[in-house]
Symmetry: C2
Subunit: 420 residues, 2 copies
């Protein structure tokens, strides 16, 4: 804490978060259009973002609000005819318009993690599958960094109550945690400078791992003994990324992870989740799966197992890994001890893996290579991309070299030589 702490109101902090979202997060360019999407409850941050984008010289800014209440109404009142299609026309048009970085994209997340609890699992799975298929063109543009994009968080009442049940200050506490993790709270004198330093540190870690070009990572811990082969010519990401046009952006605010591309057919062993996965309104706890030749062949969960099994059945790629990420157990979000029930935060508290689509950006030459080429080198393809946490203070990780030698990479969840 420093002496600015007393002088920052909630509005000041929202101003700082909007500044970071626009300048460090999406980094909208002079004359570039921007799509901002948010829930209807997120007006105070959304409007600040629009104002700042225009003030930075953006082209046309399109702010479009969704409404979780309308999402829920579909499940409560909609018949089968409301679950046999999505709106691919809208996503296809959006993806075309985003090509060549013409439109940047900023998403504000933070809805109710339990929104769809108690709704018909079949409908939830069907809606998810349709949404994933319809949204694929946009996800591809983003994962290939054809434009600059970012995701930032907004504390909703429902989310706060999930994170801090039975606490009447839940909303204020969640906001405090978001501001801290997003490096805009009063302990930070200059958020833009703080982000510059943080991105530099992540960049150094990435370079080290890129130079190593490990053949595989070996995770060991309670319930986990997993070898994750890495794709041929994998490349590590983390912190700021660069679009094909060379525009820097921070796709996730906050972010602590470095991550790369597993090999879709070279993952073997067992792995246990270390935090619950909040997925499309369902909490999935104690995931335990076994991989054989890259594919999940056994899967269970103590709660939400049905939702997990549905997820794995979306397509063949849903049973394979598209991402592996390393996060020190001492990272600020992990140190907060808060379980956010939200991947944007929880994936930055622990090492994790993601089922489904890989990031072309995490493959050398991935920005221009075809999907077929990337697939041949081991990069997975799927309509989904779902992260879940496998890291903790009890996890050891070795890097396995091309020659088959094991090098200690993380011990007790920490990079060697870094403070625990």
């Amino acid at each position: 804490m420093n002496d600015t702490s007393a002088s920052l109101s909630h509005d000041d902090l929202l101003d700082r978060l909007a500044d970071v979202a626009v300048a460090t997060g999406v980094n909208v360019q002079e004359g570039q259009d921007l799509l901002v999407s948010a829930d209807v409850t997120m007006v105070p941050l959304a409007r600040r973002i629009v104002e700042r984008a225009y003030a930075r010289g953006a082209g046309l800014v399109t702010l479009s609000y969704d409404d979780e209440a309308a999402t829920l109404a579909r499940f409560r009142y909609g018949g089968d005819q409301a679950f046999d299609h999505d709106r691919p026309w809208l996503h296809e048009a959006t993806a075309r318009a985003m090509a060549d970085g013409k439109i940047a994209r900023l998403k504000i997340i933070g809805g109710d993690p339990n929104l769809l609890d108690g709704q018909d699992h079949e409908k939830v799975a069907k809606a998810e599958r349709l949404a994933a298929a319809a949204g694929k063109p946009v996800i591809e543009k983003i994962t290939r960094f054809e434009t600059n994009w970012s995701i930032v968080a907004y504390a909703s009442e429902a989310w706060a109550k999930t994170v801090f049940p039975n606490d009447e200050n839940a909303l204020a506490r969640l906001w405090q945690a978001i501001f801290a993790a997003s490096r805009v709270d009063a302990s930070v004198a200059d958020p833009t400078e703080a982000w510059r330093k943080h991105n530099a540190a992540l960049s150094a870690r990435r370079k080290l791992l890129d130079d190593k070009q490990y053949d595989a990572l070996h995770f060991r811990g309670p319930g986990t003994d997993l070898k994750v082969g890495l794709a041929e010519g994998h490349s590590w990401g983390g912190g700021a990324g660069k679009t094909i046009q060379g525009v820097s952006c921070n796709p996730n605010i906050p972010t602590e992870e470095v991550f790369t591309t597993p090999h879709a057919t070279r993952v073997d062993g067992t792995v246990a989740s270390t935090k619950p996965l909040a997925h499309q309104g369902t909490l999935i706890r104690d995931i335990a799966v076994r991989f054989e030749g890259g594919r999940i062949v056994e899967a269970s969960a103590s709660t939400g197992e049905a939702a997990l099994l549905k997820l794995l059945d979306v397509d063949d790629g849903a049973r394979r890994l598209g991402e592996v990420a390393l996060v020190p157990h001492s990272s600020p979000i992990s140190a907060s001890g808060i379980l956010f029930y939200n991947t944007l935060f929880d994936e930055n508290a622990a090492c994790h893996i993601a089922l489904g689509q890989s990031y072309a950006k995490c493959m050398k030459g991935g920005g221009t290579a075809s999907a077929e080429e990337l697939g041949a080198r081991g990069a997975n393809a799927s309509m989904i991309h779902v992260d879940w946490m496998i890291g903790s203070g009890e996890i050891d990780i070795d890097g396995i070299t091309e020659a088959g030698e094991a090098e200690p990479l993380m011990r007790g969840g920490e990079w060697p030589g870094e403070a625990r």
Copy 2:
């Protein structure tokens, strides 16, 4: 008033308005998708509409909120690069998706009539021109009734303060006026039945005028001596309309008018507006124009003249008429004595004309005829469609037959034989 008056809360009245919007207004069909657009301040009505659409068996309902604050931010903070394009890609995709009635459309209006007061006129005109050009594909789908659509109103604070300045009950009074004009207030026992009867009355008036097939209408009153030639094979609209697929819908809630297509080159004389025109955030008062051969050759206004002249310069069709509408001076909205500063209401208080695009539906065979055919018969084409009021209790209108004989149509603003 009847005995239901005491029992209807504001929520009850919103329920009724949502019922009318979904069932009588857009009449969304089993399995048909629905686009609902609203400002972010209109959540209570928008959510009710989504719930009812799903309960009626709609397909996917897409609720998307705009934000007037974001619109304003563009003018306050945006540079030239924010005013050199719109988002045609979005409107083109939406129009394609609406084809063949696949998606119905319901719009909730009621924003701040003075939103853009004090903003740069050049920017306002440029934004309007770009929006009109980009939005044309959707407007064409709607004016050709390729799908069912409707517009309903929601009372915003800013709108209420414009209508009832210096009245602390402004919002409640505007709501009362909206509920009354929309035939859902406590004086109406059964809104659905009330709309059925009202549509039947408008339909009878339309049939009478269709049978007459007047060559022209002659308006006389203070500042007005105008002959409006009617297009060849014009057809009168009003109340419920039918889509190409045969689905009935009420495009405007409320509606009192019957209207048809003027001849783009056969309008001559002078006409004075009888109410201010609230156009894109600018109030234009005391419009006086002279037509020659269908084209406005002189135009003035006591306030907002610059905005009027910009509007006329959007394209050649902006100086010609696309609609002429007859509304008795005793209609409920006129009788309320309220100037709403909103065309959806004010056009139902008085006879009016519209600059710009004609309605294909107001031409015999217009649903299938090409734009060229319709143009050859006198139907105007433009990127704009802007109504303004020319009716009052002092206006007399004759119908001019093919033989050149004048038949009294309205006297003192009323249909002959109907109560004043």
